[in-house]
Structures are given as structure tokens and as C-alpha cells.
Amino acid sequence: MATVATTDPITSDPMLPQPYSVRQVVKETPDTFTLTLESPNAAGGNRFQPGQFSMLWVFGVGELPISISGDPAERDRLVYTVRSVGKATHALVSSEVGEAVGVRGPFGTGWPVEKAEGRDVLVIAGGIGLAPLRPVIYEVLHNREKYGRLVVLYGARSPRDLLYRKELAAWGRQRETQVLVTVDYGGLSWRGHVGVVTTLFKYARLQPAHTLAMACGPEIMMRFVARDLETHGLARENIYLSMERNMKCAVGFCGHCQYGPHFICKDGPIFPYDRMRPLLEKYEL
């Protein structure tokens, strides 16, 4: 697992945004959009590890840390899934095709895809937490022979809040892949599971001793997920979580994202559960 990743070697100042332009904006849910950005300067050169994030500058509005949600093999673009919850995210998702966006990064640690080789991969996502995990799913599906079973457990608030619906269905049709989706509030027309994401564990055909789990979602969800995974026999060091705090500089200078002894931007956002467990139970953090 690498730490801070490469930026363009020509302009390697990590504080300097690179100009990208919006190629496509896709509405995923009523408040969540997927943006595809491209840059002529980075043609073929957008390298990132699944789980890393960028700092996106919306000029005149502000800068945001957003996880990369695209396919690591598609190096001609950077893809981000953004939920519109404030002024800057609203401005970002309202971008027109061709509009300029500044990009710094990628930053942070990635998901442990190399450690997962030879094992079953359990992906557990809640809400928009599926976005930082999607690159892992692409990685596993592109390199099927390297991994055991792929199990994707995804929970959302309601059916209309589900991300990547078509892809979820397509992934579920792949060999050695199990995709289970649940919602907290199902309407009367919903025929899938209703219940929190941890209720899906009993349907997943897990082999705990041979499984590496990666989870991303609201912190309280991850706390329950990690605890239940332990109950199911997964070792703490084989459970990875993506943490989130208020990231500003993204390189460990400013301290805004400090979480106990860690800077989420530099030491994370991906951490093994055995390092996070004592902190997850502290109310003050």
C-alpha cells in the first residue's frame, strides 16, 4: 500500500491545481452526480490507486476532497461521484461540459488490493461509500485470476439513493461474484432486501479465514460492520476502512484532518481496522 501518490512530475507541486475540463456529468440519484474530467496535459497519465482522492477546485467557490470513483485502467480521465450537500459540491455537480475544474492529487493511501490477491474480496459500502470502492471492484474484475470470490454488499437509504444501479446488476452476473443490495427504507414496490447493510452478512457466502474486507460508509456504519465482521471470524488486520475528516491541504501540513495520531489525508484515508478500533470508540473524535 503506497502513501502519497504521484502528481504530474513536470508540475510536482502538490499544492498547485492542474487544469482539467468536464467531459461528462451523469445524474446517479436526485442529489448525486458522477463527473468525468479530462486534461490534455495528462493524456494517458492519470494514475491512481483505488481508494485515493483528489482535491477538486471549483474556481471562485472552493476546494473539495473527493474520492476517485473511476476505473484505474482508464487513464485518459478521472471520474468522481459527488453528492450535492453544500455550496461547493452544488457548484461542482452543476458544472457544464467543457467547464474548467482544478485538480490536485491523487493523494492518500489506497485499498490493499495487493494484499487481497489470492483471497476472497469482501466490499461493504454504505450510501456514497460505494464510490471510493468502485475502483477496487474494477481492479478485481479486470484481474479475475488474481483473486478469489468477490462479494459486494451495498446499503443505501432508499431505492432511489442507490448508485451505479446498472453496474451493480452487471457485476452480479460476473463469475465468482455475489452482489447484495439492501435499503433502510423500501417502498412498497421494492422487492429487494430491507435492513441495514450488516443484515446482508448472513446471505454472503464468506470464508472468513480467506477473506479481506474493505468498507466505506458513514463512520457509525463502519464501526458496526467491523465489529460484526470480527464476530464472523475475520481478523482485524484483514478489515480495512476508509476514514473521512475535513481535509484541506491533503499533504499533512495543515492538520485539519487530524484524527488521533493520524492525518487522514496523508496516513489514510484507508486504514486497517486494528489501527482504527481504539479511535472509533472515542466520542470526542
Binding site: 450537500v85 439492501t182 432486501h193 430491507v194 435492513g195 443484515t199 446471505y203 457509525i220
Partner: protein, 153 residues
């Protein structure tokens, strides 16, 4: 062909149960089927059974006046439906609605209550197992109430 005794003995819910207790349970068991769209039970009705779901999916629903039913949870293969048979006043607390055809083993709660009163070892084993289910459902409901995916949470 799988016998009821074998299905019950091999079900994870009954893991570790003495064979004499499994025999007692089998005496109270029968195969049942509910077509999609039908109600297995409704709130307020007498609760005299519980079910080991063998296939299909059902929804636990609650009704509030002038509102559509709210789906609290879904249950599917391998899960246990119903704990109200165990505690007075032995009435269902929710509706159970088959959203797919459900095949299950029904265990006669009335018969089992009598056996549990006569045999406290069996009663304690049943209570331990159902308490675990109640705990899991309570925790899941608490997480739902937290509405963790809402904006600003």
C-alpha cells in the same frame, strides 16, 4: 429426501441443541408454503407459531393509520420468523407479508410452550436463541433509526 428432523438439526439456529430437544421440536414441526402476496400473519393475531424460512422472501411490515405500510425488514432463506409466540400475550407485533413464494417449516409455538414449561433445559435453550434474534433485530432497527445515510449525518 430430507426429513424434518434433519433439517431442524442442521439449521444454524438450532446448532448445538441436544438430539432429544431436536426430537421434541420435530414433533411440533410441519412444512408450510405461502404464495407471494399473501400475509403469513397480521399484527394483533394470536402468535402460535414460528418459522424456519427455507426459501423465498418476506417483509415485516407495520401499519399506521392513513399511511401506507412501512417495510421494517426483509427476511429470507435460513432466517427465523416470529418470536411473539414465546412471550405473553402471544400476539404478533407486525405483519409478515410474503413478497415471494415462501417455503418454511412451521413450529407449533403452543405445543412448544408446553414443552418448554415441562422441560426448562429446552426452555432456556429456546430463550437464549430467540434473545439473540431479538438483539439483532433491535440493533438493526437502531441503526435504521440513526438514518446514517441522510445529508449532514
Amino acid at each position: 429426501m430430507e426429513t424434518l428432523e434433519r433439517i431442524i438439526a442442521e439449521h444454524p439456529f438450532f446448532a448445538g441443541l441436544d438430539s432429544c430437544h431436536t426430537n421434541l421440536l420435530t414433533g411440533c414441526a410441519s412444512n408450510v408454503r405461502f404464495d407471494a402476496g399473501t400475509y403469513i400473519f397480521k399484527e394483533g393475531e394470536e402468535a402460535n407459531e414460528f418459522y424456519l424460512i427455507r426459501s423465498g422472501k418476506l417483509a415485516l411490515e407495520i401499519f399506521a393509520p392513513q399511511r401506507k405500510p412501512v417495510m421494517l425488514a426483509t427476511l429470507a432463506e435460513g432466517e427465523i420468523l416470529g418470536w411473539s409466540w414465546l412471550l405473553p400475550p402471544y400476539q404478533w407485533r407486525f405483519h409478515a407479508h410474503a413478497i415471494e413464494t415462501v417455503r418454511a417449516i412451521a413450529l407449533d409455538g403452543k405445543c412448544l410452550r408446553t414443552k418448554c414449561e415441562e422441560n426448562h433445559d429446552l426452555g432456556y435453550e429456546m430463550l437464549k436463541r430467540f434473545a439473540r434474534i431479538m438483539e439483532q433485530r433491535l440493533e438493526a432497527t437502531c441503526l435504521q433509526l440513526l438514518d446514517v445515510y441522510a445529508v449532514g449525518k
